[in-house]
């Protein structure tokens, strides 16, 4: 099933509520007349550029200590001996935790401080001290002796007979995920052409600018965590359960965040460690991971190997799709959005005969977790590279081949898409924004430089789903506060939701404040994942404001002795339908004060008869220097379908960021692990190459702006993850177009490109 299904249920009808206004009762927004749809700057822009925006590591509480974690230097072994007495005796040290004395809390399949270490970077002990330097010194004074165990770093060896067992139940992390429809053998038998290819993708590191971490404070038996997280309610629930606290004793706050990209969807060990250190020391404790720890132990994109077979008729129609994907997920399965490598093989093209299998395998490496379109970035590289190869084999235009296999239905759920033409529109917009391959710019400028163009398409979730809630209150001066228990992970959630509230009530953006990021004040909202936040929360905001608006109409009728059925709400006013009278909202609010109008809204279920998905097509233009192996992405057209565009500036920002991150994945980024020792060699920003501005192409943003009215009450879908999905195959296909060599392993480093060119040179 799709990623969103794993994350939070099937998106079916919302539970009955007698209080909240259900977003399904809202009429569609036919046109936008207020702030929604406009390219507003982020509401927190000034705070961010002036430095006044506070992140989790910006908390400086009185008496605050600094936590630090001792991590395993070996990939697999037993802690035979651990003596922390010298660390405890160090001046400034207030607490030390290790498996001898920490509560035996379970975390996933292991203990919080497990005497068995399973990867380089696994947590062994922790300290809290008055300065970060003292904490670092204390770690060096902890004396640990390990008994090394045999280890395994890659999925194939982990599945082999006699491989070291990473967990008692073996190295297969879960039952293989299998999917089938039709008769694949018959499909291949009917095929005129069969493509049979193997693709590999690498372990990639998130490298959010802000690392994982939190500040923990206990007061009267209640815990407050300022946490850099994509899910404040998720953290609250998990921390409360692990520490055996009731929910109302845990408060999680995320005011601003410097990125998460999926790695902050779940509760990692540091949250519990900070809480325990704070309890033991009776002081607030701040525990932020440094860059090394971030890159060793706080998530990565699982490397995959995909064996792909496509069967097709001469005219390009697919008769069979088969894929077996193996993902190395590291030492622990941490939950969150699942890495759905095979999902796109099931949905993107019309094909009666499909069989997919995905294996998740434990290895003695840092645990993987969701990373911007988990599974899809990997899977689309395989599928769309194979489709490009098929187009070449059949001498068909790559876009024509894709359109020949177009589907308006979600073939997994057997439902029509809420936007059946969504992907077709992306193809059309991409084609019109792309330059002709015969254009002068694509002629050779130097003997060594070859230019090429490549295309890739994708589908994805991002339709949002219940449950989610919003509360609205109209202040005495007619300004509006909206409260939700959601978080803004840096994407602009706060701004988009403010625009929706202002649009619905018909007032200026400046008269609306959205309060988010605090479990103590806001009602439940899900984690920010699956590109679903706007589509999940937006309808709830509209519903809450509409609920408040209905009460305002009632209030106006009572205040002014009118028949309520003769009044309606229009752009910040209550008006008589015959036009003879009107009152501004602030007049109503002022007259009512100190009484207050409030509203509560909930996100209703998605339409049962439709499947809500997002789509995209990208076309990359590359220049390949055959002497040096350098690949330069010169221009990239990104045409995505995210339904209604609430804020073009934010949409463009997600596209620029996603494409840039995709360029890094396509060309440079790869965690390298020393095979002899299991030590990652580039867990830093010098040797792990994220893309720089110089590596980013000119991005042509060509989003559609067609409301998906069948999807939800705001007609908008997500755009957070999609822009990264098709980047790598679009680039790899363009490289093929340029030099006639198909590189099936990511990233396309100088080394891989030169090696592939050399092989091609030898071959022909």
């Amino acid at each position: 099933m799709g990623h969103i299904d794993t994350l939070r249920g099937t998106g079916g009808p919302s539970p009955v509520s007698f209080e909240d206004f259900d977003s399904r009762l809202l009429p569609a927004w036919e046109t936008l007349r207020g702030p929604a749809g406009r390219p507003c700057p982020r509401v927190e822009a000034a705070a961010k550029v002036t430095g006044s925006a506070r992140y989790s590591g910006d908390r400086h509480l009185p008496g605050q200590l600094y936590g630090a974690i001792l991590r395993s230097p070996i990939p697999h072994g037993e802690v035979e001996h651990l003596d922390a007495s010298r660390a405890r005796a160090l001046p400034g040290v207030h607490a030390v935790l290790c498996h001898h004395d920490a509560p035996a809390l379970r975390w996933r399949k292991c203990l919080l401080f497990d005497p068995r270490v399973r990867f380089v970077g696994d947590e062994v002990a922790a300290v809290a001290a008055e300065t970060p330097q003292q904490a670092a010194d204390a770690l060096r004074l902890i004396d640990v002796r390990y008994r090394p165990l045999p280890f395994v770093l890659d999925a194939d060896r982990a599945l082999a007979d006699g491989a070291p067992r990473i967990h008692a139940d073996g190295n297969l992390a879960e039952e293989p995920k299998r999917y089938a429809r039709g008769d694949v053998e018959r499909g291949f038998a009917e095929a005129d052409v069969v493509m049979d290819l193997v693709f590999t993708t690498q372990a990639a590191l998130h490298n959010s600018l802000e690392s994982h971490g939190c500040t923990a404070r206990w007061e009267n038996g209640s815990l407050t965590l300022w946490e850099s997280t994509q899910g404040i309610h998720q953290i609250r629930a998990d921390v409360a359960r692990h520490l055996e606290l009731s929910d109302n004793r845990v408060r999680v706050i995320t005011e601003h965040m410097g990125g998460g990209f999926g790695a902050k969807l779940v509760m990692w060990k540091h949250s519990l460690i900070a809480a325990l250190l704070a309890r033991r020391s009776n002081r607030p404790v701040q525990l932020m991971l440094d860059r090394t720890a971030e890159n060793l132990a706080a998530g990565n994109r699982n490397p995959t190997r995909q064996h792909v077979r496509l069967g097709a008729k001469r005219d390009g129609r697919l008769t069979a799709i088969e894929v077996t994907a193996v993902a190395a997920i590291g030492a622990n399965a941490v939950g969150g959005e699942s890495s759905n490598v095979t999902g796109v093989y099931q949905r993107l093209y019309r094909c009666a005969n499909v069989r997919t299998e995905q294996l998740a395998v434990h290895t003695n490496t840092g645990p993987s977790c969701a990373f911007r379109a988990p599974g899809y970035v990997e899977g689309v590289f395989g599928l769309e590279s194979a489709m490009d190869a098929l187009a070449r084999e059949l001498a068909l235009d790559p876009m024509a081949l894709r359109l020949a296999n177009y589907t308006e239905r979600d073939q997994v759920r057997d439902l029509l898409y809420s936007a059946p033409d969504g992907l077709r529109g992306c193809h059309a917009r991409a084609a019109s924004a792309a330059r002709s391959p015969d254009a002068p710019h694509l002629k050779l400028e130097a003997q060594a430089v070859r230019r090429g163009v490549g295309i890739a398409a994708h589908e994805w979730g991002g339709g949002g789903s219940p449950p989610a809630y919003a509360w609205a209150k109209l202040n005495a001066d007619g300004t509006l506060d909206v409260v939700m228990g959601v978080q803004d992970i840096g994407t602009g959630t706060r701004t988009g939701l403010t625009q929706i509230a202002a649009e619905e009530l018909g007032i200026d953006l400046a008269r609306v404040t959205v309060h988010i990021g605090d479990t103590a004040t806001g009602p439940f909202a899900p984690q920010s994942g699956g590109s679903a936040t706007l589509a999940t929360l937006g309808p709830a905001v509209r519903a809450a404001v509409a609920d408040l608006g209905a009460r305002a109409v009632d209030a106006a009728a009572r205040l002014h002795d009118q028949d309520v059925t003769a009044l309606c709400r229009e752009r910040g006013r209550i008006v008589r339908s015959d036009g003879t009278a009107e009152w501004r909202l602030e007049q109503i609010a002022e007259a009512l004060a100190p009484q207050m109008l409030t509203g509560a809204g909930l996100r209703s279920g998605n339409p049962p008869e439709r499947s809500v998905r997002t789509f995209g097509v990208q076309i990359a233009e590359v220049a390949v220097n055959v002497r040096t192996g350098e690949v330069v992405v010169e221009r990239l057209v990104a045409a995505h379908d995210c339904g209604r565009v609430i804020n073009p500036k934010l949409v463009a920002s997600q596209i620029l960021g996603g494409v840039t991150q995709g360029v890094g994945f396509a060309l440079f980024e790869e965690r390298l692990v020393d095979e002899a020792t299991g030590v990652p060699l580039n867990a830093n920003l010098e040797d792990y190459h994220v893309p720089t501005q110089a590596d980013a192409p000119a991005v042509v943003v060509a989003p559609g702006d067609r409301p998906d009215t069948a999807a939800n009450a705001i007609g908008a879908k997500g755009i957070g993850e999609p822009p990264m999905i098709p980047v790598a195959p679009a680039i790899a296909n363009a490289v093929y177009d340029a030099v006639g060599v198909r590189i099936t392993e990511l990233p396309l480093t100088r080394a891989r490109v030169l090696a592939a060119l050399a092989r091609a040179g030898e071959a022909g």
């Binding site: 055959v626 040096t628 192996g629 390298l672 720089t692 030169l754």
Partner: protein
């Protein structure tokens, strides 16, 4: 934090006496872009840092006299890249300086520090390994991840396969640069820059033979007429990364023949690597296509790739081809 003493030296003489004190591990500090990360990573743990940024007899200035350019030891990479005299007299050096690191790092890093910097090998820099270069017994890169490591060794196999990371060193060597040192006896001594670089040995685990001497200035002689230069570097990405390989190329062409050639490679050996056979093949030849091919082939003679760096052999040939193509085109156009 490991405690250390900090001294600000009034002049090089004070710095030298602090440096030579027996029993106290001492490091010089100028730009700090290499020393401080080495300390933070735990690769070195000096007991004392001697800050020479304000030494009275060191400067960051570029001047031109009859001999050529004089570049003070403290001159930053940014100053070199932007300096009008350098750009006019030694554009090769400006190109190399501009290709290094980031604007922030170039603003802090000094030319002398750049020449004396330690390798970026991920085994050497990682405290989880105690590699040969850091004083241990083995080179982990030889059979490990050696994508960024050496393809050239001297006559004897080197116990280390890290590469010299400097972009400036190949350029300066190609320009026949000299260096003025303050020797341990207090005397100034002029030597060719090239002679400072030597592969490490078991009793000298560094890439230079500077020892306790201090670099005072760099001297770059004037170029002969009809001399053409080019610096080409390829890194893993387009900026802010060290060279996978780089070439500093210089040819002088008179009456249709190459009369002088220098091809110095960066990122391929323990030290900046002179492609001598290629240089010899160029001298006396015309600036022609087949000469480019021959030079590119000869530039990698003697190359021995490790498990993961065979691509560097092709890359060096590509770089030499790219550089010579440009130079020959300019020479022929004259």
């Amino acid at each position: 934090m490991r405690p250390f003493e900090y001294h600000r030296a009034r002049d090089t003489s004070e710095a030298a006496s602090l440096l030579s004190e027996v029993g106290v591990q001492t490091c010089l500090l100028a730009g700090g872009t290499d020393v401080l990360p080495l300390m933070k990573d735990g690769v070195i743990a000096p007991r004392r840092l001697v800050d020479i940024k304000r030494s009275a007899d060191l400067d960051h200035a570029v001047t031109l006299d009859d001999e050529g350019l004089r570049i003070g030891a403290l001159t930053t990479l940014a100053e070199i890249a932007e300096n009008a005299l350098v750009r006019e007299q030694a554009p090769l050096l400006a190109e190399a300086a501009e290709s290094a690191a980031t604007p922030q790092l170039r603003d802090a890093a000094t030319v002398a520090g750049n020449l004396l910097q330690r390798p970026r090998c991920w085994y050497y820099r990682n405290p989880a390994f105690h590699c040969w270069l850091a004083g241990g017994a083995v080179c982990h890169a030889r059979d490990g991840h050696n994508e960024r490591h050496a393809i050239f060794e001297g006559d004897a196999p080197s116990p280390c396969c890290a590469v010299h990371p400097s972009d400036l060193a190949p350029a300066l060597i190609a320009l026949d640069a000299g260096v003025r040192l303050r020797a341990s006896d207090g005397q100034a001594r002029d030597v060719s820059l090239e002679t400072l670089f030597r592969p490490p040995t078991s009793d000298r685990r560094t890439e230079t033979v500077v020892g306790d001497a201090l670099v005072l200035e760099i001297r770059v002689p004037r170029l002969a007429p009809q001399t053409y230069t080019r610096f080409v570097k390829v890194a893993a990405r387009r900026t802010w990364s060290f060279a996978l390989a780089a070439v500093a190329a210089r040819v002088t062409v008179q009456y249709g023949r190459i009369t002088h050639a220098a091809l110095v490679l960066g990122g391929v050996a323990n030290v900046p690597w002179r492609a001598r056979q290629a240089e010899q093949a160029l001298v006396g030849a015309p600036p022609a296509e087949d000469v480019v091919d021959r030079a590119a082939r000869l530039a990698v003679s003697g190359a021995r790739s490790l498990g993961h760096n065979a691509y560097k052999v092709a890359l060096v040939q590509g770089l030499v081809t790219e550089a010579l193509h440009t130079l020959f085109a300019r020479a022929v156009a004259k």
